[in-house]
Symmetry: C2
Subunit: 499 residues, 2 copies
């Protein structure tokens, strides 16, 4: 491996004087908007992971491609790091600024450049909101499938950077499965045109490589999206269970029957109560767990699948199965789930949203484990899952103003992710590694894989100027973080036997 | 970009004496089987692209992982290039040996290590045959979806290296969409464990990067495959058309209706006649084109879709639509298509199989273009397509013993691929670049993308020892090859206006 990536990644950033950077940027493009006053920088101090805050050296707001290239070339020449930011809704601190870095805000790239209904393709700038694509496609009977809960606000460029999912990704895939091509500027400001309309492209898979690369390899400046025909019908079943285990088994039974629901979501009692109190979704507040199962497609198929799912839910011990009577009720059922995070946020001053994945067969065991860890750390946890694809979102409730609680919440979060890795899962399903889970990467991967990541990073960005300190930990950091490396469940999680 | 990859890639390989390499390999592992006599090397001179033949320096046949690592470490230390080979069925010369390189034959890694029917996962060694996986999974009602025409012989490791497709990839995806994880040895013989059971993995997407990397980044030593439940029913419709255009329009109509067939294949008259003469599939030999449309899934759904497809075919001007009456006839319909290559091979002493992709809306125009080029080069072309995903397989008929015909066939093939690129397609759908299409990569990509490929190659293999001269052309080669760079159809194909 050709590992030339230096340790600057991890904080030892070169410090260039603010006035020098400002002057260089203004020289490069006199019309570029640059924010530099402390009060102007404040709104950009954090992304959706608000517990981490850093004011950037400068914020730039380019409005056309040549300005982005000028920013990159200028920063590259000065050795100043650059953090790209979309809508700032990310939950892992991927767009957290650097004190000595420039924050490159892509918000002004918000145009839908073209929509070809026949080819089912939309070409958009990276700042276009996720939901805006489906809105523009709706008159043609089409939509853009990935639907993160933040879809009203999050941008397509950010979706690519984090390889965003959503409640429908079990059936329709992640962002990478719904993007045909991206235009990228390298750290030197050079253009790369990646992907195309074919299923596969010759050469190494740069398209997949850019997805989920969290701004470490380049800056996305254009995206070609695949659109799908809107399903003829969609029906949602809401099943309540007297135990989380029973709900977990129902998930397995539905998938084993060969049914692929459009969405298959689980919530536990604290999450149900919080959502119900917040949006009045009509959830049964006494249930230990609920499943939301959406079936979509052509009428006959959906009818048949719905009947089969009802049987399976009953066999798995569902206490009650209800079906949304109309579109309004269907929207309400989903609103509870999609607002689960802010809903839980009302239960306690702060919450910390985790994002681990596990093999589905481990669901019940991991939930038991989370309960044990929750008691040990003396913090409540509400659980929301993309059950169908084994993606957990435990929400840890805490009070940042209570001495020691933030630290305890972080510790609990770390333990939960390590538990996910120990059973053969991973530390992030769809929220990315960002700044938040940089230490857990040391649990997820061995030295070989980390070296490969660094070699790829070095191939694109030798001096580590693009979003340093995110996504991939240095080997030094992993040596310090110490603990264990568990891989594919092969090495034991010390406490796992208790669960 | 950190471009350190040197030009050795393209032929200026270091030459190490055969006896020295042999002695070093025997020292590294006395039990390793090494072939070195000329007659023992002869069977390994080519892969499925038999027009290119080179006897390797040595052939090694390791039978366990540590031997593969020993071969890689030894060759790395000596600076000797290594070409990995699976079953040798590849059609682009990806496993073509190097005169001064070691051929690493993975044929002895042919064990299915485990099959978890509940999790729908199989863990296999790379030398396992594609079809053997489905055979092992059949008792559980499962199968492995990608089905290249060579599936009876081709190996899973080779499928990963070339990101193989098949007639069902429109609905079920390419190899990359059906593989959950790979174990890889680097050029230094270090192990990488890539992927897992989750939809997405943290870090850069090494799994996608390895797929289609044609042995340039590492050697695959283990593969975890996703298995699918066998569809309840499958029905095949055979439609004949009086013109290729009409058949092309029918393809568009079926997809526009939101139907995703399990397979949607087109053959033109020369291909139909050849297949019929060879396997008696029951094809209408006077049709200008036929479509084979397979619908699979649950009974009710398939019945409804089949009725709708019949209507669409009729509206598009199908002269006749027949449905396979039983499994035997269904197998016959497919046998004609799957044996189209050898069937066409009976029409002329040699044939040259191309593998381009195009946007589906360009199908009729590109077929007209191929006809014009065929006349200009005075060579017959039979056409077979994965119509549903725009993947063309023009088969150029020629006689290698007739002076100048091979050269003319290669020239025609090159022009056909450039035509594909000019309309926004690509030079390979599923057969890979290998040795064969190295020049066409210069037409497909600009300098920026090629530099990115080289940077990635250098990250994994700084000295260019893994399969040099395949997959990615040097910038020097592209400068020599000259011609045009056409990208996303933006630059005109000089002759395109005629079509």
């Amino acid at each position: 491996m050709n590992l030339r990536y230096d340790e600057r990644l991890d904080g030892a950033i070169q410090r260039v004087d603010k006035a020098t950077v400002l002057a260089a940027l203004q020289r490069a493009d006199a019309t570029l908007e640059v924010l530099h006053e402390p009060e102007a920088l404040r709104p950009f101090e954090c992304d959706g992971l608000a517990a981490y805050r850093v004011a950037p050296l400068l914020v730039v707001l380019p409005s056309h491609l040549e300005q982005v290239a000028a920013v990159l070339r200028t920063c590259h020449a000065l050795g100043v790091p650059v953090v790209a930011r979309g809508a700032g809704t990310g939950l892992s601190g991927g767009a957290l600024p650097l004190e000595h870095g420039v924050l490159l805000v892509m918000a002004r790239f918000h145009r839908i450049l073209g929509l070809d209904a026949e080819a089912r393709v939309a070409r958009v700038e990276p700042g276009v909101r996720n939901l805006a694509v489906s809105e523009a496609a709706a008159p043609h009977g089409l939509y853009y499938a990935p639907d993160p809960s933040s879809q009203i606000a999050c941008s397509i460029g950010g979706n690519v950077a984090e390889n965003a999912g959503g409640v429908h990704c079990l059936k329709y895939g992640l962002t990478v499965h719904n993007v045909l091509g991206v235009d990228v500027l390298t750290v030197e400001g050079e253009r790369l045109a990646i992907g195309g309309e074919a299923l596969d492209a010759p050469g190494f898979d740069l398209l997949a490589l850019m997805h989920g690369s969290e701004g470490l390899l380049g800056v996305v400046t254009g995206v070609t999206l695949r659109l799908l025909p809107k399903p003829e019908v969609a029906r949602v079943l809401l099943a309540s269970f007297a135990s989380v285990d029973a709900a977990a088994h129902a998930v397995g039974a539905i998938l084993a029957a060969g049914i692929i629901p459009g969405g298959l979501e689980m919530m536990d009692n604290p999450a149900i109560r919080a959502a119900e109190a917040f949006v009045r979704a009509g959830y049964p507040v006494d249930a230990a767990a609920i499943l939301l199962c959406e079936l979509d497609g052509v009428e006959a198929d959906v009818r048949e699948d719905a009947a089969r799912v009802r049987e399976l839910l009953a066999s798995a011990g569902a206490v009650e199965v209800r079906e949304a009577a109309d579109d309004a009720e269907r929207a309400r059922f989903w609103a509870g789930r999609k607002n689960a995070f802010p809903a839980v946020g009302r239960l306690s001053p702060d919450y910390y949203c985790m994002d681990g994945t596990i093999p589905k067969r481990e669901l019940a065991r991991v939930l038991d484990g989370i309960e044990v860890l929750s008691r040990e750390h003396d913090l409540r946890v509400a659980n929301v899952f993309h059950a169908g694809d084994g993606n957990l979102h435990p929400l840890i409730l805490f009070d940042a103003n209570a001495p020691g609680e933030l630290k305890r919440a972080e510790a609990l979060g770390g333990r939960i992710l390590e538990l996910c890795v120990a059973v053969g899962g991973s530390i992030t399903g769809e929220h990315g590694v960002g700044r938040e889970k940089i230490n857990q990467m040391c649990a997820q991967f061995g030295e070989g894989e980390l070296v490969a990541f660094h070699a790829i990073k070095a191939a694109f960005d030798e001096h580590g100027l693009l979003n340093p300190g995110k996504g991939v930990p240095t080997l030094n950091r992993c040596a310090e973080f110490g603990t264990m490396h568990v891989h594919r469940g092969a090495v034991a999680f010390p406490e796992l036997e208790r669960f």
